[in-house]
Each structure stands twice: as C-alpha cells, then as structure tokens.
C-alpha cells in the first residue's frame, strides 16, 4: 500500500498529468485501467499520495513506459527541457 509523503524529500514525483495530456487520457480512464478511484490518480498527480509499487508499475505499463520514466524520487525535468537537451 502507498502512503502520504511526510516531507518534500519523501515525495515521489511523477509525469502522469503530462502523459495523460499527451495521450488524451482522462483521469477516469486511467483510474479504471489501473484499478483505483479517479481521485486517487489526482492525489498521486498532486504529490499528496505516493502510490504502492504495484500501482506505480500498473500506471507505467498503461503508458507503455519504464516505471522510472513516469516516477522519480527527484523532481522530473519538463519534457520540453529533455527534448531540448537531446537535440542540442
């Protein structure tokens, strides 16, 4: 089971909102696919809930990405920054 982060350092960062926008997936569609309620996806996106390993893996599998591309212990750079870094 996941948990509420106790401090900023304890937070799990994620790219779920960006990936949802990119794929045109609503919270409800993602929630149904990974077996949670839509508000739980919202709490994960807002960093107010750190998902369990099983949920993190299911979310990563839904987007067809490795889990470290979706979740990180460090703040994730924006996708545009990453693109810029790779093309420059």
């Amino acid at each position: 089971m996941g948990r509420q982060p106790k401090s900023e350092a304890d937070k799990v960062h994620d790219r779920i909102a960006v990936l949802r926008a990119d794929r045109g997936v609503s919270r409800k569609e993602l929630a149904d696919a990974v077996g949670v309620h839509p508000q739980t996806i919202g709490y994960v996106e807002r960093g107010e809930y750190s998902p369990s390993l099983a949920l993190a893996l299911r979310i990563a599998r839904f987007f067809g990405l490795p889990v470290e591309a979706v979740f990180s212990l460090d703040p994730l750079p924006s996708l545009s920054q990453e693109l810029l870094r790779r093309t420059s």
């Binding site: 509420q4 609503s26 077996g35 309620h37």
Partner: protein
C-alpha cells in the same frame, strides 16, 4: 480477475457526483463541528436528567429523540464527505482509501479507547450516585458512540480537498 475496487450500491452512492458539495473541506469541518456540538449537548442534557429526581422525564425524552433524529442527516453529510470510507465494504475501497481508513483509525485509537472506558465508568458512576439506570445507559451510549465516530471525524477534519474533477471526461 479484475483489479478495480468493487462498485457496490453503497459505494456508488458515496461516489455519486451529485454529492460533491459534501466533499469540500469546509462542509466536512462544519459536519464534524455540528456533530460534536450535538453530542456534547446530549451528554449535558443526560447528566442534567440524571441529577433530577425522576431521571427519565418528558423533556429529556423529547431532547434525546430530537438529538438522535438530527444525527441522521448530519452523519449522512459527514459520510458523503469522506466517501463512506468507514461504512462501505472493504472490497470497494482502493489502496488510497484503505490507507486513509487505517491512518484515521491509528490516529484515534487511544482517544477512542479512552472514550469507551469513560462510557463504562460514567454509566456505573451515574447508577451509583443517582440510582437512575436509563440516563446511565444513555450517557454510556453517547460516550461509546463518540469513541466509535472519532476516526470518521479525524478523516473528515484532516483529509485534503479532493483534486478537481475538471478532466473527468
């Protein structure tokens, strides 16, 4: 096998979008305060009734009945505000809701136990001091009820506002 929480009839009611107004932090706090005030008022009335010669009088019966009836809508609002996490089937809870359930139970375990003990002690004390059994049972019930409802109050008070449903298409 499905990994999704089971959508029981009760769970569907608690998740119904028509009751989103009850899930705001302000409404949840109001519901907790209203229930606590009502419970405290009923405890005070019960103690007053126990100190009278009759013990069980008409005014106490009216106050007690009105208080119990008033609890129904108040508890409904509170339950809708926390999506019935303590009342619905475990199978209908997802991992975040189970976490909320466990956290609030854990946070209130000692105060709840203290209230349950106080319920027993208060009922015995009322009978010993006044000889009135009915107000003693009422007081015991109220304190036991306060201990039982404490985790719901804790969750309703501490839960953050839910994420906006703007992109629930």
């Amino acid at each position: 096998m499905s990994i999704s929480p089971e959508q029981t009839y009760l769970a569907r009611t608690f998740d119904d979008g028509r009751y989103a107004w009850a899930r705001s932090r302000q409404v949840r706090h109001l519901a907790v305060v209203a229930q606590a005030v009502l419970l405290a008022a009923l405890v005070a009335c019960t103690v007053l009734a126990a100190m009278t010669d009759d013990g069980w009088s008409t005014w106490f019966l009216v106050v007690w009945t009105a208080g119990m009836v008033a609890f129904i809508p108040l508890h409904s609002v509170l339950n809708l505000g926390i999506r019935g996490v303590f009342d619905r089937s475990d199978r209908s809870l997802d991992e975040h809701q189970r976490r909320q359930h466990e956290q609030s139970l854990g946070a209130t375990v000692w105060p709840s136990l203290a209230l349950h003990l106080a319920a027993w002690c208060a009922a015995v004390a009322v009978v010993a001091l006044t000889g009135h059994v009915t107000p003693a049972l009422c007081l015991g019930f109220l304190l036991w009820f306060a201990g039982w409802i404490l985790p719901s109050w804790n969750l309703a008070w501490t839960a953050p506002d839910e994420p906006a449903d703007a992109d629930f298409c």
